[in-house]
């Protein structure tokens, strides 16, 4: 019997990038998925969990601490309900954070993967473009983009992706280049696999664990960048709440005793990053017990 690659694939568990190994006995992963699901549900169904308007001010109830009647997380200086702002803010932040991070990672992996297999000139072009973009300040690029496209939520996502794919691409490129020389990759070629099969089954899956770490970091980065851009009037309207906005506004309160205005949105961002990190780590498969 001769083996052909299609048949060899048949009854096995899916290999390569499709190998999402969601084993039932992994409490950390189950918790992380549950956390993301809860955050997503809260964001989507925000009006069901609060009757208050996140932007309405109430001068009779300013600067209330958490636990006050009617305001479970308290209010800010203008009397806006923090619970409502967190719920509606989750919509913007999760949308921007997760989409921008996903696009960043996909874009970076494509660019890095292409650079690793491409002829030398294209590899050089991609690597040098990444270097140049890394050297330019984020805001300059975004201002240029905004001047062309006009401010919107979509612009924020695109701007973040365009300015953060470089680390992912350079990591993927370096991982693939070092993995190419590995003995087991040579063994895969010796089995008669084509370049694409080797790339898909052996090279990319091996490069995933470091990318997974970067992906989680990118989510947090995107959530905070969104608030920076919105503050400059390049993203969502500044009065529309997002976790990033809440953090930016609350900076001034850090030393005035109203610590919770910082702590609550910061905790939300951190929890999201950790959950994404765990999920991304699971998607990228078991590590080799190495550095990541």
């Amino acid at each position: 019997m001769r083996s052909d690659p299609l048949r060899a694939k048949g009854p096995r568990r899916p290999g390569g990038l499709l190998a999402v190994r969601l084993r039932p006995r992994r409490p950390a992963l189950v918790t992380a998925v549950a956390v993301l699901a809860v955050l997503g549900t809260l964001a989507v169904l925000a009006p069901l969990f609060t009757s208050l308007d996140p932007v309405a001010t109430d001068t009779s109830a300013t600067s209330l601490p958490p636990g006050s009647a009617g305001h479970p997380l308290g209010t800010d200086l203008l009397g806006r309900d923090l619970w409502a702002r967190m719920l509606y803010g989750a919509r913007t932040s999760l949308l921007v954070g997760l989409t921008a991070a996903a696009i960043t990672v996909v874009l970076g992996m494509l660019a890095g993967g292409l650079a690793a297999v491409a002829p030398r000139w294209l590899d050089g072009l991609i690597a040098r473009t990444a270097d140049v973009l890394l050297a330019l300040p984020l805001l300059v690029i975004v201002l240029a983009l905004a001047a062309v496209a006009g401010p919107s939520l979509g612009l924020v996502v695109v701007a973040i992706a365009v300015t953060s794919w470089m680390p992912v691409a350079l990591i993927v490129r370096a991982e693939l280049r070092s993995r190419r020389e590995r003995r087991h990759v040579r063994a895969a070629y010796a089995l008669g696999l084509s370049r694409w099969q080797v790339m898909w089954r052996h090279l990319l899956p091996g490069a995933l664990p470091p990318v997974a770490s970067v992906a989680a970091f990118e989510v947090g980065h995107a959530i905070l960048t969104e608030s920076t851009l919105s503050f400059l009037g390049l993203g969502v309207p500044p009065n529309r709440p997002s976790w990033g906005n809440l953090l930016t506004e609350a900076q001034a309160h850090l030393l005035t005793g109203e610590w919770y205005t910082v702590a609550i949105p910061a905790a939300a961002v951190v929890v999201t990053i950790i959950a994404v990190n765990v999920v991304a780590g699971a998607v990228s498969g078991p590590s080799e017990g190495g550095t990541w």
Partner: protein, 490 residues
Amino acid sequence: MSPHDAARALTVEGLTVDVPGRRVVHGLDLTVPAGRILALVGPSGSGKTLTARAIAGLQPHGGSVLLDGRPVRRGRDVGYAFQDASASLNPTVTIGRHLAETVRAHRRGDPSAALTRFGLDPALADAYPFELSGGQAQRAALAIATVHEPAVLIADEVTTALDPITQETVLDLVKADARDRTVLLITHDLTVASRWADDIAVLHAGRIVEHGPTARVLTDPRDDLTRALLQAADDTRAPERPAHITGGALTVRNLRRELRARRRRTLALDGIDLDIAPGEAVAIVGRSGSGKSTLLGALAALDRPDGGTVHRDGRDVWAMPGRARRAVRRRTGLIFQNPAASFDPRHTVRQVIAEAGPYTPDLLRYVGLDPAMADRRPAGLSGGESQRVAIARALAQDPDVLLADEPTSGLDVLTQRRVLDLLTGLRRDRGLTIVMVTHDLRAARRAADRVVVLDQGRAVDDLPTGDLDEARHPATRRLLAAVTPHRTPP
């Protein structure tokens, strides 16, 4: 130099070593007088290395280790040369700094004398470990281990990775050095022990099952394991011929291949001509760096030659389209040197095999492994197990040519024997063509009916295995001389 003193001796009493969960060495007693070489022989996992590490004070242990009646001082009294010298030396530091560090720590020793003692030019002190050849690195490691004149030298499988000629040089130097100290030679190779050791202690599952002068142990073994080891080492059955032949034919004409490193170019293959008939078993032997593995890469249709042609069943593999060449590779089983590295570390044994062809538990049973092993990952396999998984993977391809790169190197004699039996059995039952690269002439005799000797990229000798002893070419004679087990007078 420390004065020769007949009263000096290394005494080990009731030595025990535990690893988490179990005891690996069970109460070992040994006495080695100064100036003698004791070979600690045993199969993989018998506790040889742990015993040596305990004696050197590198491993927590029970029992006592005494030198002239007082406890061994760690570092000062015992020099330790590791199995893989290039990995045990710091690649960013010169050999000279390695030596100087030891000299400074113990306030004694002469770096250039240590290098000269092991046949190295003192000028090599300025070299970095990666600039040395395998044999040089191993000798440098021995020089570093003995520069501060310790009373005991432990040589832990120092020649396992070396070709027989380099091995001979290194062990001759160790023996010359043993005049002044006690040497513990750790090896799984009885031939090495028989030629260079004064006494042999056979270790099995953490216990010494036999201990005596080399000549006595070799001629009158008292333990079953010793007998099995001797038998495996003396195994000279010729390979059986296949009843029916299904294998492929390989033809190589004027093959040239250059290896380009950053600064230098090496002509690895310099005009090789070779015809391998279907169903034939050919051993390619030669020293390290003679081009053996490069030739195997060309035969596997993996590396494009810089000149000449490779034909498989009459078709030029580099003239055919890529798809057809991949089909040729699918019909070629390739077993790599150090097979554990040839498995994707993220895959299980089952995935590794399934990539080559349909996985069935029978494949693992055929190579003598428990099918329950299918869910293990490569990192959890021993050397012999990896080798057998590699053979199972090659079998899953249902190949008609099997190429094996050093299939027995680094394995103990019993495992070597199992692997060789497996290869010869495969050829007998399935009529495969087998090409085996090895520096072990014993393995070549056991598994091949023809031997091709490579030297500096040229095929200098090509003869039936039976005529090996009458070979005339100096390169072949040199290889033969290096593995001939002979006793040096005590």
